[in-house]
Symmetry: C2
Subunit: 358 residues, 2 copies
């Protein structure tokens, strides 16, 4: 069975990092006989420049047909003055909503070779490998009613609504449990069930979902304690699952624990496990085209794509092992440069990963 | 002018740690001629045992008349099976709501002598001294409507309301700016104004309040970035002000940065600057009565009380300097014990602080 991957290089450093990631994808495709085909399309500012839309119809059609999407990054100062409706970021948001990518997988991984980059003590974070599963299309960021109203006494009042129904919670729960099956088989659900009713329901539905996954352990933790535990002992977690807002806060804190955000991949999945894969970092227009960008987060996004959308766990493992080997060899791009290590270009880093694969 | 302090020892280790803190209060009262009077009353489980209520009428009357309240801690397994309405914690909640203690001051301070206790690298956290001002009686934890309802399709939906009006934001803003005047004169307001309307209003009102305090600098930061910055470089902050829920999460994370929660005081203030002061830690019933408890968080709560409610900054500074001197001397209670340091009892720690004061 052929699997179709849509490649969306995007803007800034997007094309150069995606180029290296595609070389790696091609290599494992051959090595593991994965039968993957890929084609490219436009998204973001470069799509706007050519078609007047950050998400052209042709791109959306291809995206809907694809088994997985590999995205570089979008945006840059060139498009900052455009109307909100055609900003590069709208390309991403359009893909998320059209493909119903409600499950955001945010790993926080710290290769021991880079442990010095963290603000935490090496023994606390070296080898960190946790996955935060954040609900991405619901919760308080999308809840109605919302706004700012004027009260009878003339004062203004701001209000937002934190809301989840059972199906929304169930599908993100399943996504987290499926991910846990690919990893350490432990899910910690984060709520504020001692105060917020919406998270009382969240916790209940997670308990129901857990019954479908007897091989995966479910625990619960309050969000304020979770923030403390991420600082105190982050390696205690395997998969954490939580709503949109708590996930926004905790996944960013967890990413920062590693001290090297240029290394972190991410995924946004739908209910069928199809998804969009992209590095956590942005389009870095200041260094675009200079061969300085770190392609490893995008290469690791390919590994995630193989694991979560293309059922090719071995190929994913091989890529992650190759990245670790390259770090062992002392190769670093500028963003993770370190004394005693060799600073290499985007292309040279891609070469090294390819060599390490075989 | 006489100032009245109500002392509420509470349960567990409360009485022993408060006893040491009161000795320190008496000492600075005399040393700085502060004209402070104090009396004690019952609260929590011990109040329930004697009167049938965790917040007896007599205690509430005295609390309303006091300029400040010094609280030890409440709760313990002895009262865990009581009805919710008479649990020890209800004593605290009753004081907060009756006295309108809407401003929760949560310092995260790391004495350089204890920097090893942190999970962060010493150079990142040694000497940390930030203050998180958390709105305590509004926001989503109290917002209406709230609950779990059944939709027309039979599915359940949980919902909560994140709501603030202008006066609520203004008074917590003023509380933060007043606190900043006692410190580094910088306030960073935390919001999610790129998504949540209620925090758009929050940000606007903070800008208005800032005009009343031209000597204090105001900046803004998104909550997910704030969580990252607390991990990356916490010393960049002076005072952070935020709503109830974000404050809950960020203040616990900030406390954990220090690695020694047994050292952290806190305050809950009303609009007149009257307030309740207490250690962040709990009543630790397992070590109660053994002379093992660390009285320093309660002693530092006295310092906060002098600074924020009793207009006695010099006495506050003297207590904090005495605590630092005692740590320099290598004295530690069991919870902060460290190789090469002398582990001392609750009373001996109190003695040492008293000696260091003169
Ligand atoms: Mg974020
Ligand atoms: Mg808390």
């Amino acid at each position: 069975m052929t699997r179709n991957v849509l490649v969306l290089p995007g803007d800034g450093i997007g094309p150069e990092i995606v180029a290296q990631a595609v070389r790696v994808l091609d290599a494992v495709n051959e090595q593991f006989s994965l039968n993957i085909q890929h084609e490219s399309a436009l998204v973001g500012g470069s799509a706007y420049d050519e078609t007047g839309s950050p998400l052209p119809e042709a791109t959306l059609t291809k995206a809907k047909a694809a088994d997985a999407i590999l995205l570089g990054a979008v945006g840059g100062p060139k498009w900052d003055k455009l109307d909100m409706s055609v900003r590069p970021e709208k390309g991403l948001l359009g893909l998320r909503s059209n493909l119903e990518l409600f499950s955001n997988l945010r790993p926080a991984i710290l290769y021991p070779q880079l442990a010095d980059a963290s603000s935490l003590k090496p023994e606390i974070v070296a080898g960190l490998d946790i996955l935060i599963v954040r609900e991405l299309t619901g919760g308080i960021y999308f809840g109605q009613p919302r706004g700012i109203r004027t009260l009878e006494n003339g004062e203004r009042e701001g209000f937002n609504t934190y809301v989840y129904n059972e199906s929304e919670i169930r599908r993100i729960g399943r996504s987290a449990f499926e991910a846990a099956r690919q990893r350490g088989k432990r899910v910690c659900s984060i709520d504020k069930s001692n105060v917020l009713e919406v998270t009382v329901l969240w916790k209940e539905v997670m308990e129901e979902v857990a019954k479908e996954y007897p091989d995966v352990e479910l625990t619960h933790m309050l969000v304020d304690n979770a923030a403390m535990q991420l600082v105190r002992a982050p390696k205690q977690f395997d998969v954490m699952v939580t709503g949109n807002m708590f996930g926004d806060i905790l996944s960013d804190a967890a990413a920062m624990l590693t001290g090297s955000i240029g290394m972190l991949p991410s995924a946004s999945l739908n209910a069928e496990g199809r998804g969009m894969y992209e590095p956590c970092h942005g389009s870095a227009p200041d260094i675009a085209g200079k061969g300085l960008a770190n392609p490893l987060a995008t290469i690791l996004s390919v590994a995630m794509m193989l694991r979560y959308s293309l059922d090719a766990k071995e190929a994913a493992d091989a890529i992650e092992a190759a990245v670790s080997k390259v770090l062992d060899q002392g190769l670093r791009t500028a963003d993770i440069a370190s004394e005693g290590c060799e600073t290499v270009s985007t292309q040279a880093m891609g070469d090294a990963v390819l060599n390490a694969l075989v």
